[in-house]
């Protein structure tokens, strides 16, 4: 099959399946995007895992445990989709460990207070949902099916976060301050999650042509901001952007300049927690080696 036939299939909204012919660039783009997505789910367990043992109630603790378990599940759905492109789980892990594969830079920020659990669920999962909903229609079959599963589970995550932050916002003065502080720290990194502006995103063209992505970074970011402003107002919190205002003409919000220097610096490894997140992943992987070996030994013994 030639690239022309491949593109015809894409244009007809047909899905590409693992055994179908695909351009090398398409395969590469998918491996990069899906593995980055998978790694983000797994690394994303750390900032929240940080609060499991200190959750303020048994209810909150059970919910957080279930949520972190879901994130592990989402990571596995995505690794599974990525492996259909001919790369192994071991290679994917190795690329993460040597820094060749990235994960979402949002997880390189620390979770300092319980309100951060609210901000992460509400904003970070909220931003992820906007992206994932559009990816349900991605052209690669296994990725698309993974996204459908993830989206079904993800809205619980966002609602639990919003519940936490809404509770704190109507609590004591200190609690409200804590909620506002979490919003202040997580707002900008959350809207950076959508990546650079379309004009600075060289890969967007192909990703849109191949329908890997269905909306551009800027479109998704705008969707997210439009949805979220009202939610902040409802619970009496202020989004930390003095330039944020409703634009009647384009019927969406205008917002201030994003600090791209900070974004790139965190992507390149200089965020507050990059080293800690990666080291923890490597340690957990090494510490688990004996479990994998034991399982293998046991299965061999069963065969004999």
């Amino acid at each position: 099959m030639s690239e022309v036939l491949f593109q015809e299939k894409i244009d007809k909204e047909q899905k590409i399946e693992p055994k179908d012919w695909m351009p090398e660039g398409y395969r590469k783009h998918l491996i990069r995007q899906i593995s980055q997505h998978a790694h983000s789910e797994i690394i994303g367990m750390q900032p929240e895992g940080n609060w499991i043992s200190r959750a303020p109630s048994l209810r909150a603790k059970m919910i957080l445990l279930a949520k972190v378990q879901d994130e592990a599940g989402h990571g596995l759905y995505l690794y599974s989709a990525c492996e259909t492109l001919g790369i192994s789980r071991e290679e994917l892990n190795q690329q993460l460990h040597i820094g060749k594969a990235k994960y979402s830079s949002i997880f390189n920020y620390p979770t300092l207070t319980w309100a951060d659990m609210g901000a992460i669920g509400w904003l970070v999962d909220g931003a992820a949902i906007v992206n994932q909903v559009s990816l349900q229609k991605t052209s690669y079959g296994p990725y698309s099916r993974g996204m459908v599963k993830i989206c079904k589970e993800e809205s619980f995550h966002q609602r639990q976060g919003y519940e936490i932050i809404a509770e704190m916002a109507k609590g004591t003065k200190e609690q409200k301050e804590m909620a506002q502080d979490a919003l202040n720290r997580f707002w900008w990194p959350s809207i950076m999650m959508f990546g650079p502006h379309d004009s600075d995103s060289p890969r967007t063209g192909n990703a849109m042509k191949w329908k890997i992505k269905r909306k551009t970074n800027d479109e998704l970011r705008q969707d997210f901001i439009n949805k979220t402003v009202g939610q902040a107002e409802l619970i009496g919190l202020t989004i930390p952007d003095p330039d944020l205002k409703w634009n009647e003409e384009k019927s969406s919000y205008d917002f201030g300049e994003i600090n791209w220097e900070e974004f790139w610096s965190v992507v390149e490894g200089n965020g507050p927690c990059n080293e800690q997140r990666l080291n923890h992943h490597i340690k957990a992987h090494k510490d688990g080696a004996w479990v994998r070996e034991a399982a293998k030994a046991y299965s061999k013994k069963q065969k004999n």
Binding site: Y77, S88, R89, E90, R145, A295, K296, S299
Partner: protein
Amino acid sequence: MTENKATVWEVFIQSKNGLAHKHFGNVHAEDKEMALQNARDLYTRRNEGSCIWVVKSENIVSSVPEDETSFFDPSNDKVYRHPTFYKMPDGAKHI
């Protein structure tokens, strides 16, 4: 990295008694028991199933997408396989 890879198992789940098993995804596991447990943990956290099958991926035989046209061709010229092929007398009921 000198790790041995685990076996990949495809997971099929029957969502409700009486329905067919449907492909859900795959899991890594060393043996069949672990494959079943991993599939349960990964794909049925919210009551998605009443029964799970796991099959080693290597045991699945698939047709090749490139051969789709020729492979499925014979069915297209046998229109008499479809009920709409037959002429029914006017007024025939319950058929």
